[in-house]
């Protein structure tokens, strides 16, 4: 009887443990999220950020959405001998303890069908979704291209 109690206790703890371990959204720290201001009349832009994984297992960003866009896709650029090829990616992985940076010319959130123009200084709410279904809302600061360099210095590039 006592043994059975122990077993169920152990089982109970095992089942309960994911609640203590935290979700991907808990483990991922967002660094300096921003989106590029778009020239007048355009409806496509790109969003950038750093993701630091404070947990002990790999996490993956699998989707993103925003009320201000018709669609957000995860994209990357491949520089193939000077030819830039933009392609969607299924997910963006962040190694445990590591940081993955989305930045101009590489990985980015492609913000499509913008419902209103992005003006520098505005904040744009974007919801990130991770592999375990957990979500995190970020406030991306809209920046004019002249402000991008500041960002890169901050990011240590």
């Amino acid at each position: 009887m006592f043994k059975r109690f122990l077993t169920s206790l152990a089982l109970g703890l095992t089942l309960a443990s994911p609640c203590f371990a935290g979700t991907a959204a808990d483990d991922i720290q967002i660094i300096d999220p921003w989106a590029r201001e778009v020239p007048p009349g355009l409806t496509t832009s790109a969003g950038f950020l750093g993701m630091k994984n404070t947990g002990d297992k790999e996490h993956k960003l699998v989707a993103a959405e925003s009320a201000n866009t018709g669609m957000v896709e995860l994209h990357t650029h491949i520089n193939d001998n000077g030819v830039m090829r933009m392609r969607p990616v299924e997910n963006i992985a962040v190694a445990p303890g590591g940081t993955t940076t989305l930045q101009p010319g590489g990985l980015h959130l492609m913000l499509m069908m913008l419902k209103k123009p992005l003006k520098s200084g505005d904040k744009m709410a974007i919801t990130l979704e991770f592999e375990d279904g957990s979500k995190k809302e970020i406030q991306a600061e809209v920046r004019h291209f002249g402000m991008e360099k500041m960002n890169r210095m901050k990011m240590g590039h």
């Binding site: 007048p40 009349g41 896709e73 000077g82 030819v83 933009m86 980015h108 002249g146 890169r152």
Partner: protein, 194 residues
């Protein structure tokens, strides 16, 4: 003894000058043989030809306004580099943005787009067949690529190079895709000093 030293020095100087001269003229003649050349395109302010800018250094970027990241990155860096130039340097420069997407980019949109990056930048386009030949002559590459799992439908694979045309209308430099205003500035100043 001293006279030999001076003679030797004089010889060295002549040799090095003539050597530099031959390098210089070779550069001027054959830097990019068969590439570049004149063109005439449409802008919101009317027809514009490369010939209109003889005596200026012309910076040409091929792209399209719905290009979400590569074009704004390059044009933003170009713009930041141009802002570092003095007004007398800027007087010798003409930046051009050539859209290879005439179906979606009308002239007014191009004017606004180019102006957004630099007040002096002229946005222009032309007929697709003409643009394709022109891009090829400069070595720019564009190709529609079908993309699965994206609402884009297709993406445009393209090169991202700033072509630098000298004051005589000849292609003299190419600045490969760069988000670095510093590197672009070095190239522009190099051509201005040329």
């Amino acid at each position: 003894m001293k006279i030999f030293y001076w003679l030797f020095l004089a010889f060295l100087m002549t040799a090095s000058t003539s050597h530099a001269w031959s390098l210089f003229s070779a550069d001027e003649e054959e830097r990019y043989p068969g590439m570049g050349g004149d063109f005439t395109l449409r802008s919101a302010a009317g027809e514009v030809s490369l010939k209109d800018f003889r005596g200026k250094v012309v910076l040409i970027y091929f792209g399209y306004t719905s290009c979400p990241d590569v074009c704004p990155t390059s044009l933003g860096a170009l713009s930041a580099a141009l802002k570092k130039l003095s007004s007398s340097e800027m007087d010798q420069i003409q930046p051009l943005f050539i859209s290879i997407d005439p179906v979606r980019d009308d002239l007014e949109k191009l004017r606004e787009y180019a102006h957004y990056f630099h007040p002096k930048m002229i946005g222009m386009t032309g007929d697709l067949a003409y643009l394709q030949t022109l891009a090829k002559r400069y070595g720019a590459y564009f190709r529609k690529a079908e993309v699965e799992n994206s609402s884009l439908g297709y993406a445009v694979d393209h090169s991202s190079t700033i072509y630098v045309v000298g004051k005589d209308g000849k292609l003299v430099d190419m600045i490969q895709h760069s988000g670095s205003p510093k590197r672009i500035l070095e190239h522009i100043r190099g051509v201005l000093a040329y």
